[in-house]
Every structure is written in C-alpha cells, then in structure tokens.
Symmetry: C2
Subunit: 142 residues, 2 copies
C-alpha cells in the first residue's frame, strides 16, 4: 500500500481564534504553541470564517501595521481550503501545491478535526519509504 490517508498523518488538534483577536494575539498564539496557523471561529455561532497564518503576520509586520490593533477579521483568508481525513496524502500534497498553502484543515462529517501541514508530510516521508520497500520485497518474493 503506497496510499496513506490524511487522517493517519495529520495533527489531531486545531487551534482556533475569534475574529476580534488582534494580530498580536495571533503572533502570541503561534509563538507559544510553535504553530503556523489558526482557524478563525466566531464564538457565538461556532462557525469557521477563515484561517490566519504566519505569512499574514509577516505581511503586517513588514508593512509596519500596528499589530496591537489590527483585528483578525480584517486579514484572515476565506474560504478555507480543507481536505477530508479519508483522502490520500498525495491528493493533499497536490491540493497544497495548487493553492500555494502549507496547511490544510482536515474535515470529518463537516467538522474540522485536525490540520495537515507540510511538516507532517515531511515527517512521514521516511516511513513512506520503508512501506514502499517492504511492498516491493513482498512483490519480488511472489
């Protein structure tokens, strides 16, 4: 089997942030948890309204924006590009490339249950290689 599922490789935890938070709040969240994105969720409705990433923060800092006052709602990206946990990781990689993103929130039954990043896929590569070599040896032994 060379196809592996997104659900097996993803990080099963999603950081969320309300749209009223500031860019400074986002930077603190990212720095404290060593993450690069957060899903924007309205606390009243629980609805996903977008995603913010460290690239957004970099753009704001570079532009000299006052990060203590700029709100998430003004710079989030929407709609979110997501992938189902039952998709295979090659489809995820293709989707990331097509949309120029490095993180895909992962859905199950319409809920976001995790996030898949380029780092998750990279950490999976050596395991993928071993799986392939094993499959090849099995095939050769037949």
């Amino acid at each position: 089997m060379i196809d592996q599922f997104v659900g097996d490789v993803m990080t099963r935890s999603v950081r969320t942030i309300p749209p009223e938070s500031t860019a400074s709040d986002v930077a603190t969240l990212f720095a404290n948890h060593d993450i690069g994105s957060a899903v924007v969720v309205a606390p009243e409705t629980g609805e996903y309204s977008g995603i913010v990433t460290e690239s957004d923060i970099m753009q704001l800092v570079a532009a000299g924006a006052d990060i203590d006052t700029v709100r998430v709602a003004t710079f989030l990206s929407a709609p979110i590009v997501t992938i189902a946990s039952t998709e295979d990781i090659h489809a995820a990689a293709t989707l990331m490339k097509a949309h120029s993103v490095r993180r895909l929130p992962v859905t199950e039954d319409g809920d976001i249950v995790g996030i898949l990043t380029t780092t998750d896929l990279t950490h999976y590569l050596p395991r993928l290689r071993n799986t392939i070599l094993r499959g090849r040896n099995d095939l050769a032994a037949q």
Copy 2:
C-alpha cells in the same frame, strides 16, 4: 528508483542577510519574497554565521520586542543544520525531524547552493508516487 536527491528537489536560490540587519528588515525580506528563512552572511568575510526564520520573528513580535532595532546577530540560530545536495530526500526528512527544522540549507563543496524546505518535499510527493507506481509496474511485468 525510489531514492531521489536533495539537489533535484531543492530551491536553487538562497536569500542572505547581514548580521547588522534588523528584525524588521528580515520580515520585509520574507514578506516580499514569500520565503520563511534567510542565511546570515557577514559581508566582509562572506562567511555563514547562522540562519533566521519566520519563527524567530514570531517570537520577537509575541514578546513585544522593538523589531526596528533588534539586530539579526542577537537572534540568529547557529550553527546551521545543512545537508549535501547528493543526499537522498529521505535522509533530509529524517534530519529535519531530528532537529525540528523546516528548512535545510543545501551544500555543494562547502558552499550553500540552495535550500530544501518541507514545502519542496510536499510538492515532490505526487511525483514520488508516480515514480513508485511505474517502478512497481515494471517489476510486476518482469
């Protein structure tokens, strides 16, 4: 062949920045070129003294540092974890995981000639899959 070389997958361009630059300069470089790291090079000697990444900027912003005055020399990471262009990509992925880094400057004859990121490896995944399938079909046809 499931082994692919770092030199074939890396981005063959390296952004450098002098140690006297400010965090604000770094953020501007990252935002303008949509990159996440730069190699720190002393202009006088041409020597590599470290690397700065978007995580460093995030930490400074989160800490409320004055990014217009903090110098690269005070927050760079050294020594740099590098990989030779002749290594295979699975070794690179293993090295990234071991050092918890997402970018590896790539060396040829002691010079840094490119950078390999988790994004490069992710974009390579679908091609890797096709290579494997082709190899398997060839093997099955023998």
